[in-house]
C-alpha cells in the first residue's frame, strides 16, 4: 500500500508537472486568446499580432516589427508555404483567387480562400501546420453568377473565441476558434438581388460590420451591423436614400433609379473610437456608364461616409465624383491620421479614390482638407477645386455632369477613352501609412481604357443581370506604381514605378514597404527612397496584401498568392504577359 500510495503521489506529481509544462509550453491560455473589444482597440500595440483586417482600426497597415529591416532584408527567404484550396470555378468564373489578408494571433494564422473556406494554421514552430479548415459549402452557381468581380474573400475577423467570416453567397459565419466547427451563421445578403459579400468583416465592440457588393447588378447598397451576442441585426444603413430621407433629392429622375442605384460597400472600413464613428467607402452608382439614366449627384455613391457606430446613422459624407459616369467607386479604406494642417491639429481620413485623386478630409465633419492626383494621367477633369475638393468642372445646378466632355462617357459621347481607366487609379488593394515618416503609400494602377455607353431604358433592369449601361475595353498597356504622399504637406514625395498594375496592396514597417505584383514579384522597397531592396518571384499571381507577425519571437512576412478578381477575365489584354500566369492558391511565409 505504501508503495502504491507512493506511486499515486508520484503519478499525481508527474501529472501536476506535466500540466505545468503543458501550460508553459502551450500557447497563451484561453483567456489570452479571447479577443475582446479592449484588445481590438489596442491592436496596434500587440506588436507580433495582426488582429484586425487593416492591422488597426485606423487602417494604417503599419507594423512596428523591425527585425526585417533595411539591413537584414537581403537575408529574407521563404520560411514555409502552404497549399490552400478554393480554386474551383462557379457561375461565370473559371476559378477562385486569393485576395485576403491573414489574421495572426499568438503564432496562429487565420486565412480564407475565395469561396470563403477558413483555414487555421499553427505557425509557432517555424512551419505552417493546418489545424482545421471550415468549408462553408458556398453555393457556387448562385453566388458566382452575380459576383462582380471574381470569386474573392478578403479575410476574417476575430471576436471572443470565434472566427468571424463572410461567404460569397451572403452569409456571416462564426466558427469555433479551437475546433473549426461552425457555431452559428446568418444570411446577411441576398444573391437573388445580385448581392454578394467579398470583404472581411469589421468587428466593432460586439458587432460585425458587413459591406456588400453588386452595384453592377443594380443593388441598393448597404452596410449592416450584426450583434455577435444575439446574432440579430443591430442596424442596416442603405447607401442610397429612399423617399423622405436626406439625399433623395440627388436622384432627380423619373425612373426610380435610386431603387437600383448601386452604392456597394465591399471594402472593409475603419473605426474612430474617439467619436464612435465607423468610416466606410461607397461604390459607384448604377448603371455605371449611363449617367443620364440617373440625373443628380446620386448620393451616397462615390463617397466616404461617417456612421454612428451605435445606430448606423450617417453623420457626414464627402462625395468624390458626383453623378459618376466612369465607374469611379470610392470603395477604398479610409486611413485615419491625426496631424497638423496650417498649424492646427486635424483629424484626417485619407482616401485614394478610383478617380485618380488622393483626398484628405476632416473626419469630424467630412470637410475637404487637401487633394492631389496620385496617377500620372488624369483626363476626365482638370483638377480639384482647392476649397471644396470637387472637380473644377462640377456644377451643382446641372442634373448630368460632363466634366471634361471629350473624356467623359455620355449619351452624347457614346465611346471614349478615360484616364484613369475604370479599374481606377487604385482599386480595393489597401494603402499603408508609416506614422513615423508621415508617409502614405498608395498601390497604383496607371491606366486608361475605352468605355462604350449603352443607353438604358426604364424597365430594362432585370434581377441578377448586369445593369451597367455599357462596358470597358482595354486599348493600351497598363502599368503601376507605389506612390508616396507626405500627409503633413499633402504632396507626392516619390513614385516607385512597377511593370504591372498594383493589384495586391501594401504593408509598411519602420524602414520598409512590402507589396506584390500580379506576375508573382513580391518586393520590399526602402520606406524613404522607394528603391527596391529585395525581390522574390513566387511564380504565381499575387493579388493580395502582405502582412507581418511574430512566432517564437521571430518576425515573418506572409502573403497569399493566387490570381483572383477580374484581371485575367476582363483586363488581361492590357498586360498580355500575364496570360501565362496560372490560377493558384498558396500561402507564402518569409523569414530571416
Amino acid at each position: 500500500m505504501k508503495k502504491l500510495g507512493s506511486s499515486i503521489r508520484h503519478v499525481q506529481l508527474l501529472a501536476a508537472s506535466s500540466a505545468l509544462i503543458a501550460l508553459l509550453a502551450a500557447p497563451p491560455g484561453r483567456a489570452a486568446d479571447e479577443v475582446t473589444s479592449e484588445r481590438l482597440l489596442n491592436a496596434d500595440k500587440e506588436q507580433g499580432n495582426w488582429l484586425l483586417h487593416h492591422k488597426d482600426y485606423s487602417a494604417h497597415r503599419f507594423s512596428t516589427l523591425n527585425q526585417i529591416n533595411r539591413e537584414t532584408i537581403k537575408n529574407l527567404k521563404v520560411a514555409w508555404t502552404l497549399q490552400l484550396g478554393g480554386l474551383e470555378g462557379g457561375g461565370i468564373w473559371t476559378h477562385g483567387g486569393l485576395e485576403g489578408t491573414p489574421i495572426a494571433e499568438n503564432g496562429f494564422l487565420y486565412v480564407t480562400d475565395g469561396w470563403g473556406s477558413v483555414y487555421k494554421i499553427d505557425a509557432r514552430d517555424g512551419n505552417g501546420k493546418l489545424l482545421w479548415k471550415m468549408d462553408p459549402k458556398t453555393d457556387h452557381d448562385w453566388a458566382g453568377a452575380v459576383a462582380c468581380c471574381g470569386v474573392d474573400n478578403r479575410g476574417v475577423a476575430l471576436w471572443d473565441d470565434l472566427v468571424i467570416s463572410h461567404t460569397l453567397d451572403g452569409r456571416l459565419i462564426a466558427t469555433n476558434k479551437d475546433t473549426g466547427a461552425i457555431a452559428w451563421q446568418r444570411q446577411v445578403a441576398d444573391p437573388d438581388k445580385g448581392e454578394v459579400v467579398t470583404g472581411a468583416p469589421l468587428v466593432v465592440r460586439d458587432m460585425a460590420i458587413t459591406g456588400v457588393a453588386g452595384a453592377e447588378y443594380g443593388i441598393r447598397g448597404w452596410i449592416a451591423a450584426t450583434d455577435l451576442k444575439t446574432q440579430k441585426e443591430t442596424w442596416r444603413t442603405y447607401t442610397i436614400p429612399t423617399k423622405g430621407e436626406p439625399g433623395i433629392e440627388t436622384w432627380q429622375d423619373s425612373n426610380n433609379a435610386a431603387a437600383t442605384g448601386g452604392g456597394s460597400t465591399w471594402v472593409t472600413g475603419s473605426y474612430d473610437p474617439s467619436s464612435n464613428t465607423i468610416i466606410w467607402g461607397v461604390g459607384n452608382p448604377g448603371p455605371d456608364w449611363d449617367s443620364e439614366y440617373r440625373p443628380g449627384d446620386n448620393l451616397y455613391t462615390d463617397s466616404s461616409i461617417g456612421l454612428d457606430a451605435d445606430t448606423g446613422k450617417i453623420k457626414w459624407h464627402f462625395q468624390h465624383t458626383p453623378n459618376d459616369p466612369y465607374d469611379y467607386d470610392s470603395v477604398a479604406e479610409n486611413v485615419l491620421v491625426d496631424t497638423t494642417s496650417n498649424n492646427r491639429p486635424v483629424k484626417l481620413a485619407l482616401e485614394a479614390d478610383r478617380n485618380g485623386f488622393a483626398y484628405a478630409i476632416d473626419r469630424t465633419n467630412g470637410e475637404f482638407v487637401w487633394g492631389l492626383p496620385f496617377v500620372k494621367k488624369v483626363t476626365w477633369t482638370k483638377g480639384l477645386n482647392s476649397e471644396t475638393g470637387k472637380p473644377v468642372e462640377y456644377d451643382p445646378k446641372l442634373p448630368v455632369q460632363h466634366y471634361n466632355p471629350q473624356a467623359t462617357p455620355s449619351r452624347q459621347n457614346l465611346e471614349t477613352d478615360i484616364c484613369p481607366g475604370n479599374m481606377g487609379g487604385k482599386n480595393w488593394p489597401p494603402t499603408a501609412f508609416n506614422p513615423t515618416l508621415n508617409l502614405w503609400y498608395i498601390p497604383v494602377i496607371e491606366s486608361c481604357n475605352h468605355i462604350k455607353v449603352e443607353v438604358q431604358q426604364p424597365g430594362s433592369f432585370k434581377p441578377r443581370e448586369f445593369f451597367t449601361g455599357g462596358g470597358p475595353k482595354e486599348n493600351g498597356r497598363i502599368t503601376g506604381s507605389i506612390t508616396a504622399i507626405d500627409v503633413t504637406t499633402g504632396k507626392e514625395v516619390g513614385k516607385a514605378e512597377t511593370r504591372y498594375p498594383m493589384l495586391g496592396g501594401i504593408l509598411a514597417t519602420p524602414e520598409l514597404v512590402f507589396a506584390g505584383e500580379p506576375d508573382g514579384t513580391i518586393m520590399a522597397i526602402d520606406a524613404k527612397t522607394l528603391k527596391v531592396l529585395w525581390e522574390f518571384n513566387c511564380g504565381c499571381g499575387v493579388n493580395a496584401p502582405p502582412m507581418t507577425f511574430t512566432a517564437g519571437g521571430k518576425q515573418y512576412i506572409a502573403i497569399l498568392a493566387g490570381q483572383g478578381g477580374v484581371w485575367d477575365k476582363w483586363f488581361i489584354e492590357a498586360t498580355p504577359e500575364l496570360k501565362a500566369i496560372q490560377p493558384g492558391s498558396m500561402l507564402f511565409v518569409f523569414g530571416l
Binding site: D141, W142, A145, V188, E216
Partner: protein, 172 residues
Amino acid sequence: MRTIGLLTMLLLALVVPIALGQPVTTADTQGKSVFRKANCIGCHKWDGSGGGGYGGDALSLRRTQLGQEQIVMIVQCGRPGTGMPYHLRGAYDDPNKPCYGMDRQQIGGHIPPEPTIYLRADDIKAVVAYVVDNIKGKGETTHAGCIAFWGAGSRVCNVYQDTGHEAAKPGG
C-alpha cells in the same frame, strides 16, 4: 416489386425531363456539358441571353439568326475583333486556313482570344446542336428551363419563379 420499381424509374426518367419542356438526349447532355466546361456561360450566361456589361457585348444565342453552320464556324474560329475566342486547336496555324481564309499573320491583331479549353470536333458539333435545339429561338427564360439546366433545388432559378422563394431574408 423490383420490376415495378424499375419500370417506375424508367418511366420517370423519360417523363420528368419532357415535363420540364426540355427533352434530354445524350447529345444534349454532351452539348450542355461542353457549354459549361468551355465557359460559354461566362459571357452568354447559362440561358444564352448574353448581353452587355463587363466583358463586352455577348451575342444573345436565344435571339440569334445565325444558322448551325455559321455557329460552328464561330465556335471554331471565334469572332475577330471581339471577345469571342476560337476553340479549334491551331485554328490560325493550319496551312489550310480553315478560319476566314486567314492565318495568324494575316489576321494580325484582330485574332480572337485563346479559349479556356480547346474543343474536339465532336464537342463543337454537340455544343452547337445544344444551342440550336435548346436555346436558339426559345424566347423568354423560364423557370422550367432553368431547372432543366441547373437541376431541381438550384437557387439560381429563384428569380424566375412567379411566387416567392426560400432564399435569404436580409434583416432577419
